[in-house]
Each structure stands twice: as structure tokens, then as C-alpha cells.
């Protein structure tokens, strides 16, 4: 169904090429892009209302409701229901947007796991948990972090609202095949260095626009060694290097994580699916348009200092000096970033006071992320406002079953309801003008976490270490001796 058929005798193909070829409805030509079939369309409240409006205006239906799955995350409150049973929305507009999604899903027959449902969550945490994301699929959503689902060996990318309408109405998109970029991560990550550090290092290397026009495939022993959740963190931020999608070939790690999830096949159908998925990895000798190699062993915990995710460095490093930047445009960009961030070139970032810490988001809102933060918070107290926001209701239940909520609360941090929360600051969770926030989210753009706010992106461990220190800190100093 969604796997690639082995094509003996043909030229070796990459993972992307196999998934692409299996979904071409009409091949591309000089005149027209390919018509590409979409296996899974994830929908949320922010980027879908205008698309449903187009369906209504043109008298169209959702073509394949079974391939469409909705949840609510961006505008939703992360505080529990009030005493009157109502959700504490930030404002009437947010509530109206959420209500509109409920109405649209009801009118068009789309399966919705909305606010208050046991499966609700950040769309890119929710889709994989449902087993809806599977190897070899094409997955789209009106959200750039759809790249997350590439961790399963799916071709997954963000689309705009017009395209959301196209997929609702036709289950297809008009696309030209992107170029391929192989990122090989050789060696092994050192203890205390994880997937978030790895992806920040990769983005710093490629540059914030360096992957434009490409789909990244992450390869090499350090990638194979990553857990499924770590692979999602890695693929999630592919867009921050400008690549619409990032992919990791499926393997036993993938299959073990997927087995038993609600939407995956069972019995002999599962065995057949796994056999098909095993044909997906890139063939030996497959050619990529570009290749980059990263030495995993050389990496340290990373943190951003600027206003785009490419402006990242080791947490032990000093803020770079714009004067050392030869390119005038890049120099101006760095100067503007340091001015906005209020950071001084040449000074270490360690010890930089912070005001808020946020652990959560589609990048780092999964169970392993909650564990990583809790391991640092265990037996310690936070010095600054700290929000820990599980990525989904399932993550929340699993974390609570392990007692992580108690660790978080005992440390003086807030344990919230699932949602995008302070990653995008649409639901009232935000930082104030001038505040510094160490955040496990994906974007440190100006004002991203609240107008005038200053974001430093890092891993859950580094964020939790900052919460405990009240300043940027090296998490390895707190977890030495920990397993």
C-alpha cells in the first residue's frame, strides 16, 4: 500500500525517491508539477479554517476522511478546566477558532481528537502516537514542523492553507520533486549530548537557509543509535535549516515503537507492512544532490545566542564577535541579533541570567524529554518561572504514571496540560518584553515567545539546568554520575 516495490535492475534510489515514486499520480513534466498523493493529512485549528471555507464556497467534500485526522494544539489553554467546566481560553478569538474546527470536523466528517479528548495533543506528537504516521507514507499538515514525521521514513512536510484545501478536496498536491541532502552523522554522541544538540549543530553548520529546496536524509551510526523520539526531535527542526522535510530510514527501532499503536496493522498485515517497510532504506550507491558529514563525538550541549536557530553554539562557548564575520550581510544579521538579545560578543553564555524556562513543544514534548528534564529537576528547586508542558494527553498520563509530575511540582515548576504553549505564545503562555527564556522549542525568532521576548533554544536537560541555576548552565555539571 504505502511501501516501495523493489525494482531490481533499476538505478539505486534514495529513501526519498522510493517514497516519492510510490505516490506519483501524474508524473511531472516541464509544464506541470507532479500530482502527488497524500496518505495522511493532519489538521489543526490555526491553518485550516480558511481551507474549509473554500470547500463550502465551492460545494466540495473532504475526499478521504479516513486519511484526515484533526486535533487542537496552538490556541488551546494549558491550564485545566475552570470550576464551571469551561476551558480558560486566552481570549474569545482563540475559543472561536477552536469551536470552528469542531464545527468543520463535524460538518465534513473528519475524525477530531479535540480539547478534552484523551488523545488530544500537539499535532506532531499526536499523529505518531496514534500510529497514523507510518514508514513510506506521505504526510502533510498546515504546519512547518510536519517534518517531524520523517523520523519514521515518511515524506512529511508543511503546507500552507491553500494546499490544506487542495488535500482536503483531492487528497493530492502539485509538487516538484525536491533535491536530496544527505547529512551523515559519524561516530557516537558523547554522554550528556542528545538529539536536540545534534540538530542545533547541524542547523548551525548548514545555515538557516542552507537546506532550501532539499529534503534531508539523516544517516550514519549516530542516527541509527537514536531512539524513535530522538529521531523525531532531529527531523522536527529540518525546516529550521530551510529543508521542508527530514527523513530517517525505518529500522527495528521504528517498528518496535510503532507496534500496537491504534492505527497500525495487526497480525499478518503487520508482518506484511514490516516486510514492505524494510525495502524503504536508500539503496547502496544511491546518489544525493549534496552530502554533509558531522562528527558526533565532537559535539557538546548546544544553545542558541541569536534570533534564528542557525545562530547556535556549544553552551560552553563565548558569544561570537560580529567583527570576525567576513560577509557583510551575515555581519549585519549577527549585530542585529546580539542587539535584540542584549548579549555581548566575546562573553561566555554560561551564567547568563534567565527569567523563564519552557520544556515542551513538538520538538521536545515527548516522554523521553519529560524524563530528561525531570532527571535534572529531581531533588532540586527551580529559581525561575518554569513551565513543563507535555506534548499530548498520552505523554501526560505516561509521565504521571512514572511520577514525573510530582518531581516537576516538587521542584517548584508548573506541570501543565498539553499544547504548543510557550513555543508560539498564541494561548496566553508567553514571556514578557526583555525577558530571557531557555526553551526546548524550535524557534528563537524575535518575539516568538511573546513580543520583545528573548529565546535561547536548548535541550530539555539544558533547559532544566537553567531553571535550577536561574542562569544558562551546563547540564553535565548536574547529571555527572547519572546513568
Amino acid at each position: 500500500m504505502t511501501g516501495a516495490v523493489p525494482d531490481r535492475g533499476a538505478a539505486p534510489r534514495t529513501l526519498l525517491e522510493k517514497v516519492w515514486d510510490a505516490h506519483v499520480v501524474v508524473p511531472e513534466s516541464a509544464e506541470t508539477p507532479a500530482v502527488l498523493y497524500v496518505d495522511l493529512h493532519l489538521v489543526h485549528e490555526v491553518t485550516s479554517p480558511q481551507a474549509f471555507s473554500v470547500l463550502r464556497e465551492r460545494g466540495l467534500k473532504v475526499r478521504r476522511t479516513g486519511r484526515t485526522l484533526a486535533t487542537m494544539d496552538h490556541s488551546t489553554p494549558t491550564l485545566p478546566r475552570r470550576a464551571d467546566g469551561r476551558f480558560p481560553f486566552a481570549d474569545a478569538q482563540a475559543e472561536a477558532q477552536v469551536d470552528q474546527l469542531s464545527r468543520n470536523c463535524a460538518d465534513f466528517g473528519v475524525e477530531l481528537h479535540g480539547l478534552g479528548s484523551p488523545a488530544q495533543g500537539v499535532v506532531h506528537v499526536f499523529g505518531p502516537e496514534m500510529g497514523a504516521t507510518q514508514p513510506g507514507m506521505t504526510v502533510v499538515c498546515g504546519d512547518s514542523h510536519t517534518a517531524t514525521h520523517g523520523a519514521f521514513g515518511a515524506l512529511a512536510f508543511g503546507i500552507g492553507t491553500s494546499e490544506v484545501g487542495h488535500v482536503l478536496a483531492t487528497q493530492c498536491l502539485l509538487q516538484r520533486r525536491p533535491r536530496t541532502l544527505a547529512v551523515r552523522v559519524e561516530g557516537a554522541l558523547r554522554p550528556g549530548v542528545g538529539a536536540k544538540d545534534l540538530i542545533l549543530a547541524i542547523i548551525a553548520r548548514l545555515g538557516v537557509g542552507g537546506g532550501t529546496g532539499h529534503v534531508i536524509e539523516y544517516l550514519g551510526p549516530a542516527v541509527r543509535a537514536l531512539s524513535m523520539e530522538a529521531r523525531m526531535t532531529l527531523c522536527n527542526m529540518s525546516i529550521e535549516a530551510g529543508a521542508r522535510a527530514g527523513m530517517v530510514a525505518p529500522d527495528d527501532t521504528t517498528f518496535r515503537w510503532l507496534a500496537g499503536r491504534p492505527r497500525v496493522p495487526v497480525g499478518s498485515a503487520w508482518d506484511a507492512a514490516v516486510a514492505r517497510w524494510r525495502t524503504l532504506p536508500s539503496d547502496p550507491g544511491a546518489r544525493y544532490d549534496r552530502e554533509v558529514t558531522i562528527d558526533a563525538a565532537a559535539l557538546e550541549p548546544m544553545i542558541t545566542f541569536g534570533t534564528n536557530p542557525g545562530q547556535a553554539m556549544a553552551v560552553t562557548a563565548a558569544v561570537p564577535d560580529p567583527a570576525a564575520e567576513p560577509d557583510a550581510g551575515a555581519r549585519a544579521s549577527l549585530e542585529a541579533a546580539l542587539r535584540y538579545m542584549g548579549l555581548t560578543a566575546g562573553r561566555p553564555i554560561l551564567g547568563q541570567p534567565v527569567d523563564v524556562v519552557f520544556v515542551g513543544s513538538c520538538t521536545n514534548g515527548r516522554l523521553e524529554d519529560m524524563r530528561e528534564a525531570a532527571a535534572v529537576l529531581q531533588g532540586r528547586k527551580v529559581k525561575v518561572r518554569t513551565l513543563v508542558v507535555p506534548g499530548s494527553q498520552l505523554v501526560k498520563r505516561q509521565a504521571e504514571a512514572e511520577g514525573l509530575d510530582r518531581v516537576v511540582r516538587a521542584a517548584g515548576a508548573e506541570w501543565r496540560e498539553p499544547g504548543c504553549s510557550m513555543c508560539i505564545a498564541m494561548n496566553g503562555d508567553r514571556i514578557e518584553r526583555g525577558q530571557y527564556c531557555v526553551s526546548t522549542s524550535n524557534r528563537n525568532f524575535e518575539g516568538r515567545q511573546g513580543a520583545g521576548g528573548r529565546t535561547l533554544l536548548a535541550s530539555p536537560a539544558t533547559a532544566a539546568a537553567a531553571a535550577v541555576a536561574g542562569a544558562v548552565a551546563d547540564p553535565r555539571r548536574l547529571t555527572e554520575g547519572a546513568p
Binding site: V25, V46, A96, E163, L174, R176, I239, G329, R443
Partner: protein
């Protein structure tokens, strides 16, 4: 969508590199359920002070920017989120084209569907445009050329299908709907 053939306008210049979609339209303006009227939110955090008053030095607040249809921006314009609100806001403000040396993929796709022409030019032509804010330019979509302030014409790339759609005011949904038999055939073959 109104057809685009020729765009003649003075330019507004934002030389910053990597202008992301959170700058083009901050997330707090994404809570609506329609696409009209977003021009007032374009670059809101650069245009307005914390108390809501316009920042006088910001280029979009200057009288010369009013009525300009061409935005010239630094490298890698439109990086970040998939929010189509970004081209909606720019179009509603009055822009019909954005010129840069690199334009992010999702933003570019969204712009093409909303009558906002993404124009990628070489570094030298870009430098000439950055150095001459307010200069008149002429963009000919059919010929795929930009006429620079000095009169030199430069070619820009655009996908043939997107060009056809923009020139004729055709939307892609209509084309996809016309592929129904191929789509049904594909579904039947799996």
C-alpha cells in the same frame, strides 16, 4: 486571484537577512478564521511600539512606502512557519512581488497561490536594488525579467505552471479537481 502580468512600482527595502514569518506576521494575529484585513498586522512588531504607536523610523511607516507594490528583502526571506497569513498580510498591505536572493520554500509556495510574485535575483542585482530604496522597477512576468533602476534587465526563474497560473489568474485547486480520473485510478491501483 487577479492575474499578474506587469508590476511597475517603486521599491520598499528591508535589507535584513533571514526575515522569518514571525516577523512578517506575529503569531498572535493568526487566531482569526478568515484571511481579509491582515495588512495592518504585517511586520507588526517592527512597525509598532509596545504601546501601539507607529515606529517613525521603520520603512513601512514612511509616506514613500505607501502604494509600493515591490518589497526588496535580504537573503532567505520568509523562513520559518507555513502560515499563509504571511503572504495574505503582505498582499493586503499592497505588495505584489518580493525580491530577494533566496526565498524559503513554503513561503514561496504560499505566495504563488495568492498573487504575490516571489522573484529571486543574483547577488549583484540584489545589491543594486538594496542600494536604491524607492527606485522604480518593472517586473514582466511573461518575459521573466526585472528591469533594474539603471535600466538593466535581469532574468528570474519561476516554475512554468506557477507562471501560467499567475498570468491567467488560475487557481491550482481547479487544476487538481480536473485530475479526478487519474486520482481515482491511482487509488484503485493500490
Amino acid at each position: 486571484m487577479n492575474p499578474i502580468q506587469i508590476i511597475e512600482s517603486r521599491t520598499v527595502v528591508l535589507p535584513r537577512e533571514n526575515i522569518d514569518t514571525d516577523q512578517i506576521i506575529p503569531a498572535r494575529f493568526l487566531k482569526g478564521t478568515d484571511k481579509a484585513g491582515l495588512g495592518k498586522a504585517a511586520f507588526a512588531d517592527w512597525r509598532y511600539a509596545a504601546d501601539g504607536t507607529p515606529v517613525p523610523g521603520f520603512v513601512l511607516n514612511q509616506p514613500a512606502a505607501q502604494g509600493c507594490a515591490v518589497l526588496v528583502a535580504g537573503d532567505n526571506f520568509g523562513c520559518g512557519s507555513s502560515r499563509e497569513h504571511a503572504p495574505w498580510a503582505l498582499h493586503d498591505f499592497g505588495f505584489r512581488a518580493v525580491i530577494s536572493t533566496r526565498i524559503a520554500d513554503i513561503f514561496k509556495n504560499n505566495a504563488l497561490k495568492n498573487g504575490l510574485l516571489p522573484v529571486v535575483v543574483d547577488a549583484a542585482s540584489h545589491a543594486a536594488l538594496l542600494a536604491a530604496p524607492g527606485a522604480p522597477v518593472r517586473i514582466d512576468l511573461a518575459a521573466q525579467t526585472v528591469t533594474l533602476p539603471g535600466g538593466r534587465e535581469v532574468h528570474f526563474p519561476i516554475d512554468g505552471f506557477s507562471r501560467y497560473c499567475l498570468l491567467n489568474g488560475v487557481d491550482e485547486l481547479g487544476f487538481l479537481l480536473s485530475q479526478e480520473s487519474a486520482i481515482a485510478g491511482y487509488e484503485g491501483s493500490r
